[in-house]
């Protein structure tokens, strides 16, 4: 039985970063820089997302001379759906926090 736990903050960050331009293929270091995550955190997340079928992977086809082809990543449809759900949840949580933190003016 597969359990559905809410994704960690870092996984959410990666999903949202990939969802910014879902059609674009991204590479690992680029995602590290965008999310601020270290490679040691990012790659396990990418591996698990791919295992889950949320991430599509491909090897670069146009390779500049002098370096090996890079591994590229983008969200699958399921991954994109999950990212959309997470983005909505994050927005809702941020709104709720703003409401909680708003100072009371009544009776002041």
């Amino acid at each position: 039985m597969q359990r559905n736990r809410p994704p960690s903050e870092q996984t959410t960050q990666v999903l949202l970063a990939l969802a910014e331009d879902p059609a674009a293929w991204r590479h690992g270091y680029d995602l590290c820089q965008q999310t601020g995550l270290k490679a040691g955190t990012l790659y396990p997340i990418l591996i698990r997302l791919a295992d889950r079928g949320w991430l599509e992977t491909e090897w670069e086809t146009e390779i500049p001379a002098g370096r090996p082809p890079r591994h590229l990543y983008r969200l699958t449809e399921t991954g994109l759906e999950q990212a959309t759900v997470l983005a909505a949840a994050k927005l809702q949580a941020a709104k709720a926090k703003r409401v909680r933190l708003r100072p009371r003016t009544e009776g002041a």
Binding site: S8, T11, L46
Partner: protein, 180 residues
């Protein structure tokens, strides 16, 4: 020489990637390919150290994607157990050191007592940690007043119980004769 030094990160990562299980080798190759695009020594080393850890301990297939919560709970449980051990360990040592009867095997070591003495601070830690985490996350201390009150009563009860047992047993820890 400089060229050789520049290749050290690559060599390290290659060695780590060789140890990866077959089904994860593609990811090892991906990390090596990414490393080949980095030029700055600091960025290369930082990248290699993170990737080497992943290469040596890659996520297992079938592992749950969102296991962070489980890891978080295991860490909290471990920290609580350690907290209990730090508070109880010295007392257990005193009991053993000051009672020649225990050391000579004449009397049995009171494991049950020390299990109880360890359990109380462990439970205390587990009950207190949500309050600490809430405060560190910027939550107002009175955000959930009823839960907080119940928790504080429980914590006080556990702490008082622990102190009472310590007070009661202190003569035994100090090696007094005829103590029980």
């Amino acid at each position: 020489m400089a060229g050789y030094c520049a290749q050290i990160p690559e060599r390290l990562l290659t060695a780590a990637v060789r140890r990866m299980p077959a089904e994860r080798l593609e990811w090892g190759a991906a990390m090596l390919a990414e490393l080949a695009t980095l030029r700055q020594p600091f960025a290369r080393w930082q990248f290699v150290l993170g990737c080497a850890r992943v290469a040596l301990f890659p996520p297992r297939r079938g592992e749950f994607l969102m296991n962070d919560r489980m890891k978080h709970w295991l860490t909290t449980l471990g920290a609580a157990a350690l907290f209990g051990l730090l508070l109880t360990g010295p007392l257990a040592f005193m009991e053993w050191w000051n009672n020649s009867g225990i050391r000579s095997g004449e009397f049995q070591f009171p494991f049950l007592l020390f299990y109880w003495l360890w359990l109380q601070p462990t439970v205390f830690f587990l009950a207190a940690i949500p309050i600490v985490r809430g405060l560190r996350a910027g939550e107002a201390i009175l955000a959930h007043p009823v839960t907080l009150a119940l928790r504080v009563i429980f914590l006080a009860f556990v702490a008082a119980g622990w102190v009472w047992v310590i007070q009661d047993q202190m003569p035994c820890f100090l090696g007094a004769s005829n103590c029980d």
